[in-house]
Amino acid sequence: MEQRTVTGRAMRAMPLAGLLTGCGGVQSALDPAGFEAEQVARLFWAMLIASGVIWVLVLGLASYAARRRGQPWSQQGASRLIVWAGAVVPTLLLAVLLFYGLRLMPELRAPGGPLRVHVEGEQFWWRVRYHPPGGAPVESANALVLPVGQRVEFSLSTRDVIHSFWVPALGGKMDMIPGRTNRLVLEPTRTGEFRGACAELCGASHALMAFTVRVVEPAEFEAWLAREAAPAAAVEPAAQAGEAAFLANGCGACHSVRGTAARGDIGPDLTHLASRPTIGAGILENSAENRAAFIARVDQIKPSARMPAYGTLPETEIAAIAAWLGTLR
């Protein structure tokens, strides 16, 4: 009997536990790791608590009114209650909230530091180009690395359909609209690994369009950027067959691997693919099996992606390409 009660309680608590998982982790606006996200989270909690208080007051009043017996209220008293509690106080509360929100905006939109990052939404991945001050642009894709404590200015664009760039732990979302360049400034406040996602339905694989964000110390960021700017590491002899297969099958027509003959500009830059934690724009762990599976069955893993599935290639060739990609640190 006791056992059943405990189980019953646990069962009833389960939906609550499910809800609470959204309160933390790599992709939660309620577990902020950026200046803007902190401001918004604070506003959210203040509003939630205030709403809770108002809810209790309204329900208390309703319950009191339902139980009250005897003299009905005078028309004047009731009118006064409606005017004050129904119109004046909500208007004042809204005005305070509006003013608070408006005052927050200039601070959140203040210009970023010298580092600029251009992100272009594609169906269904992210083209990333770092513009370090005084340096040449550095091409990357599907993974962001940012220095902690620095305001980084993002310019956001797209050429196909509307996407939306969102890293909930760092700040608000911003749409990418064909023909426009939108800007967004993010300021990470603690190091860690986070996740971003496309927040605007953009096609069959919209839900499979994510990216990783790694926030590191500024010195580590500089070192990482220098590595990212360099061409791919020299090919290990064991992986040469993979590079040959990659080039022979025309992969270089769409993908770039700097330091090789692959100079394509249609798909993601793969120069340092092995240093990214995920493949396929944040959807699969970056392992040899997953890379091979992506090459062979991309049409199933990522419906409507522009890349055709290469399942017709011999398995040994697919494995060789996947292994070679794994050496591109």
Partner: protein, 125 residues
């Protein structure tokens, strides 16, 4: 002009306050859009824009107040309680006056809310 003292309430006097809000809304946004699109010139900086918005907002609020006063008169200064649902000319006047008065309150607040960003705007982004 929608607003001049009218002896009787009608649909035009009812529509005046929301119409003032709509025109004010449009003028504010068009002014801000021009200031931001042509930004940099001496007559379209944000300080000028703030004054322009203030210059649009005060007359808008004034007109809504005038409309409100007129509506109170049409309502009979509240001598008769709602719901004003008798099929008489007097009740029709009181109903229109009362509805206009409520719309005036709503439009007044809306005009203030529309103008509020002018206080905090720091740049066009």
């Amino acid at each position: 002009m929608l607003i001049h003292n009218r002896r009787h309430a009608n649909l035009w006097t009812l529509l005046a306050p929301p119409a003032i809000w709509a025109i004010h809304f449009l003028l504010c946004y068009v002014a801000a859009a021009i200031a931001c699109a042509k930004g940099g010139g001496p007559w379209v900086d944000l300080t000028t824009l703030r004054w322009v918005i203030l210059g649009i907002t005060i007359p808008a609020l004034g007109l809504i107040l005038v409309a409100g006063q007129q509506a109170r008169r049409h309502w009979g200064f509240g001598t008769d309680d709602p719901p004003h649902d008798q099929a008489t000319d007097e009740d029709r006047q009181h109903f229109l006056g009362y509805a206009t008065l409520l719309l005036c309150a709503l439009s007044f607040v809306s005009v203030i809310f529309v103008a509020m960003p002018a206080i905090t705007i720091a740049d066009c982004r």
